[in-house]
Assembly symmetry: C2
Amino acid sequence: MPENVNRQFILKTRPDGMPRESDFEFVQSAIPEPEHGQVLVKNLWMSIDPYMRGRLRDGPSYAPPVAIGGVLQGEAVCRVVESRLDGFSAGDIVRGHIGWQEYGVLDVTGAHAVDTSLGPISTAVGVLGMPGLTAYFGLLEVNRPQPGDTIVVSAASGAVGAIVGQIGKIMGCRVVGIAGSDEKVAYIVDELGFDAGINYNTQDVASAIEAACPDGVDCYFDNVGGEITEAVMPYFNDFARMAICGRISEYNEDTPSMGPRVMRYVHYKQAVVEGFLVFRWADRYEEGRARLADWVRDGKIKYREDIVEGFENAAKAFIGQLGGANFGKLLIKVSDE
Amino acid sequence: MPENVNRQFILKTRPDGMPRESDFEFVQSAIPEPEHGQVLVKNLWMSIDPYMRGRLRDGPSYAPPVAIGGVLQGEAVCRVVESRLDGFSAGDIVRGHIGWQEYGVLDVTGAHAVDTSLGPISTAVGVLGMPGLTAYFGLLEVNRPQPGDTIVVSAASGAVGAIVGQIGKIMGCRVVGIAGSDEKVAYIVDELGFDAGINYNTQDVASAIEAACPDGVDCYFDNVGGEITEAVMPYFNDFARMAICGRISEYNEDTPSMGPRVMRYVHYKQAVVEGFLVFRWADRYEEGRARLADWVRDGKIKYREDIVEGFENAAKAFIGQLGGANFGKLLIKVSDE
């Protein structure tokens, strides 16, 4: 057993706008004792995701907020240190929502065995985990692309967007990505095979969409919301499908910001705008994971990890992510495997 | 044959904002001669619809705009004066898009025989015509209400909204209507059987929706857009369906107005927002018309006509409609039947 210290990030104050490091407190507590039916796990790879911003707000959402003084929520790939749960043994690699801490306990509903044959274990919270499954189900079930369709994806070099675009290519579509730097645009086009990329920080998104989508937009997979989305919607084709996966541009707003009313494009084009949460397809995760793993193995899907070393850097990394600083799936390397 | 004078409304200037009567010109021309394959018809009942505002704008839409100097577009119930088209005889009652004029010609694609056994002929452009079919297909195919659902409909006493609400009651739903006067609210509740009504001119729509929809909103049939829609969306239930039928509050805007960004409600609630045009179901109009006629005959659907006498009053009536002045399906009685 290690020395009995569990480092944690807890919520000190609810952020007003962009979170600051001072909204979080880095504390130490005792390592919990697993009860009967639980495993004690050590955090190895912690996932940092934009949706976590929503959990810091005390208001209506699809999940309850983190309490003041509570451990921040998040998923991690962990190693079992001690098991009092049938089917799990010390040394097993599991995935679970232990939150922002070095050690945690999981029960039978929260501990998910990681199939280490599918790829490096960090992918269990990346391309073979929630971000990959979000891309898979959101694109295929909500956007429903047909061969030849033009797909636009925002936050295109991110953990979800990069997979969306590559699945779009596998499906025989034209894929246009929007990202925040020339380096990210070069990556999605040169490395991932997107047909075109747009740098929203240096280009006028509307005219760039017009140029990159000469046949209009059939599918829009939206991770960002706000102005970028408003620039894309006028290029919808009839019966376009827009999947709302995320709205990172709006996550720091306590009240909705103002923008042009865009329902005219939905109306005239008979478009469909649908929000989704990946949990909707929980009973099909294994299907999605198996298919993603096949594509990764066949080289049809590549993934990029943005690894931050050291658990103590999690808050800073999260704040950077909300501003678009990460490049690829953001992971905290908490401990050696 | 009548005296050879055909009175028409033509577009003089493209309206900037709310149209003024001076944007239209009331002119006289010769009655057209039907060619082989055409019927000459006399306008009896002319339909005035909010969508016509879109045809006055020279910009992207689902239909080409009226040209400057061109006759305004619209549908009317007409009597055949002279037929050079097989299957039609003088005296027949037909429906067709002859535009804002007392006489017009229609060919085989434009002349639609009216089944006078179904109801008064004016209903061919009302409850048994485009407005009724819009309500029927939009509610049943886009909102897809289930028994017990709560349906909210805006412009609820209008030609479309009143039918939507009554079909909702037939389907076993709770129906809440939003309208612009206490008289209209009393009508939809007391005469049409809506469960509740909200007067958007005197009530705070958001708190009134909250009170009238204790189980949230499952279906929103939207005819108005803008602020009223923004007040309804926060009350969406999971997997709510919003059908965009019209956006009358925005029709006088040449560029989109600003409002709060509302995609958060679509996202978290996994809602679906879908725009539609009734033409999508053109191959099923007869099904819809037959069912509507049955419901009218059985007293399950009531309709109300707001009849303006005299063709020369069409422009004024149209402008009034855009401001919510009409009460029921707006018709111009152009000529005695």
